[in-house]
């Protein structure tokens, strides 16, 4: 049953150094506040999973919290490359990280298999693609009915998944709207889950087929308005594209990056997120 608690409590109770953790969000609803809290609590040695690691994974990698990254597209969409990730992969700063690289189709299927309690996912993919050569976790199976050879990848089963959502009701049922990405699968595939929400309401007032995660399927909920910034929460505030563009310069230099992290993450709190979206709300 979902328990409401502060974000520092939710992270402390559900994320440990050495865990396999997913902070999921497909451009939309990226749980920045949760990841920042993990950095503040000094969590280390993480195996991070995400289809589209972007700015917040660049930050986790840059502060040295990550041992291994499992992903399918690591970039700052529309802006460029992730410079902290590059520094780690190309130069080993601040530490070398292990890479397990997939395609989106593989990751999406692997999350679904995790949510479905299956040991692996199968799909028609990786044909002629060289990732199959460099990733030993890409294998193949033969369809017992048609003989077709299909790709196979292990299910994703995180110790803990973090997501951000629009709202929860007082029983902890959570509504996700807009680009729903792979968050439902990430929560159901994980042993534990932490959901940050923009607000808590008496009634979700939604339609019967909406993407609602029942409270009993979630471990902890924290109320963090603005908690996705500079990603966005559909209906609340738009994507802060200017911040994504600005990140490229901040991440380009180690000292600039560290100074930025000190000011905006280490010396900040979850309550600071609401101020970061105040100038965006009128545009939502």
């Amino acid at each position: 049953m979902a328990e409401f608690m502060t974000l520092p409590e939710a992270v402390a109770q559900n994320l440990n150094s050495g865990d396999t953790a997913a902070f999921e969000g497909f451009t939309h609803l990226i749980p920045h506040a949760s990841a920042h809290e993990a950095i503040r609590q000094g969590i280390k040695d993480l195996t991070l999973v995400r289809m589209t690691p972007d700015v917040v994974y660049d930050q986790l990698i840059g502060v040295g919290a990550v041992r291994k990254l499992i992903f399918s597209y690591a970039g700052n969409p529309g802006v460029g490359l992730l410079r902290r990730l590059r520094d780690a992969v190309e130069n080993g700063w601040p530490n070398r990280i292990e890479i397990e690289e997939h395609s989106h189709a593989a990751m999406a299927n692997a999350y679904e298999a995790g949510a479905a309690g299956l040991p692996f996912a199968t799909f028609r993919g990786y044909k002629g693609a060289e990732l199959a050569r460099v990733n030993p976790n890409v294998k193949s199976v033969t369809c017992p009915f048609t003989g077709e050879e299909l790709a196979a990848v292990p299910a994703i089963r995180p110790d803990v998944s973090f997501i951000h959502a629009q709202k929860a009701d007082r029983k902890g049922n959570v509504l996700i709207e807009g680009i729903v990405g792979v968050q439902k699968e990430a929560v159901l595939a994980a042993k534990r889950s932490v959901v940050t929400v923009e607000e808590v309401v008496d009634d979700l007032w939604t339609h019967p087929n909406a993407c609602v995660l029942p409270g009993w399927a979630i471990t902890a909920i924290s109320i963090v308005p603005g908690g996705a910034h500079p990603s966005y929460a559909h209906g609340y505030y738009p994507r802060d594209n200017a911040s994504y563009i600005a990140w490229d310069k901040i991440a380009a230099d180690r000292d600039t990056f560290l100074a930025w992290m000190q000011e905006h993450v280490l010396d900040a709190t979850p309550e600071d997120f609401v101020d970061r979206i105040s100038h965006l709300r009128s545009a939502a």
């Binding site: 289809m51 799909f123 993919g125 044909k127 002629g128 807009g178 680009i179």
Partner: protein, 264 residues
């Protein structure tokens, strides 16, 4: 060249946009393809179905998204599905007629690298990776590619095969059991290219206005083949140009994030 009233980038986007039909269902890759696909929708193909991998189906954005998951895409879509559904039912299910891709590095057979420059384990430059492209390349009915030409991008041998094109050429796709056509068109800032029917090597079929064979070769890392009947790409029409420039202006205003941005 001196009488051109459009840039080579504008010519590239517009020439690429013309390839999409009104009846197409198009999986839009990140970057350059997005502009071309939306110009098609805003000019000759108003009913084209544009799909972005974030799950938005039938989207009609007023401004170009910076990412493949901007809220604008969802707001204007016919429906938005989960990412697993997108890749399983819609892409793998065979419902997409065209995949429109960009490329960091490409070879003469339309194999694309967006993973690393240099060795995979000791890369000189770590690129974002494949994302949806490996399966877009094999599951869509056919593939259009658009990129700006340079010797760095168009190389004899790519460093990593992220997305399979025609492999080593000929019937390589069929030999791997891939039933779709693969790359059938490449539009650069200088020319339009189509694969040779037998060897599958990309061959220049159309030069953009003011472009010579020598200019195409100067920005390509392999020895370029030209079709016997080489034509000139039609100049952008005033409607195409004004549609593109308006779209770019709206997009710039929306993404600047400044107080002056009138969009959003």
């Amino acid at each position: 060249m001196s009488d051109k009233d459009f840039t080579s980038n504008e010519m590239m986007t517009i020439a690429a946009s013309r390839a999409l039909k009104n009846t197409d269902v198009c999986f839009v890759g990140i970057g350059a393809p997005s502009a071309a696909c939306n110009i098609a929708r805003l000019t000759h193909a108003p009913d084209v179905t544009l799909i972005y991998e974030s799950g938005t189906i039938g989207t009609a954005p007023q401004v170009l998204p910076l990412s493949i998951g901007d809220g604008e895409l969802c707001d204007t879509a016919v429906t938005t599905v989960s990412v697993p559904e997108m890749f399983r039912y819609w892409l793998q299910g065979g419902r997409v007629t065209v995949g429109f891709l960009g490329a960091a590095q490409i070879d003469r057979f339309g194999n694309i690298n967006t993973t690393v420059i240099g060795d995979y384990d000791q890369p000189k430059t770590r690129l974002p990776g494949g994302g949806g492209a490996p399966e877009i390349a094999s599951s869509c009915g056919e593939i259009f590619i658009t990129l700006k030409q340079s010797k760095r991008a168009m190389v004899e041998k790519i460093d990593f095969v992220t997305s399979f094109g025609h492999g080593e050429g000929g019937d390589h796709r069929q030999r791997l059991g891939i039933a779709t056509k693969g790359p059938t068109l490449m539009v650069t800032d200088l020319a339009a290219w189509k694969p040779d029917p037998v060897t599958r090597e990309f061959t220049v079929v159309s030069l953009h206005p003011g472009v010579t064979r020598e200019m195409v070769q100067a920005e390509c890392g392999w020895t370029v083949r030209f079709a016997p009947e080489l034509v000139q790409t039609s100049r952008p029409t005033s409607v195409e140009l004004s549609t593109l420039r308006d779209l770019n202006a709206r997009t710039k205003a929306a993404h600047s994030g400044g107080k002056n941005g009138e969009a959003a």
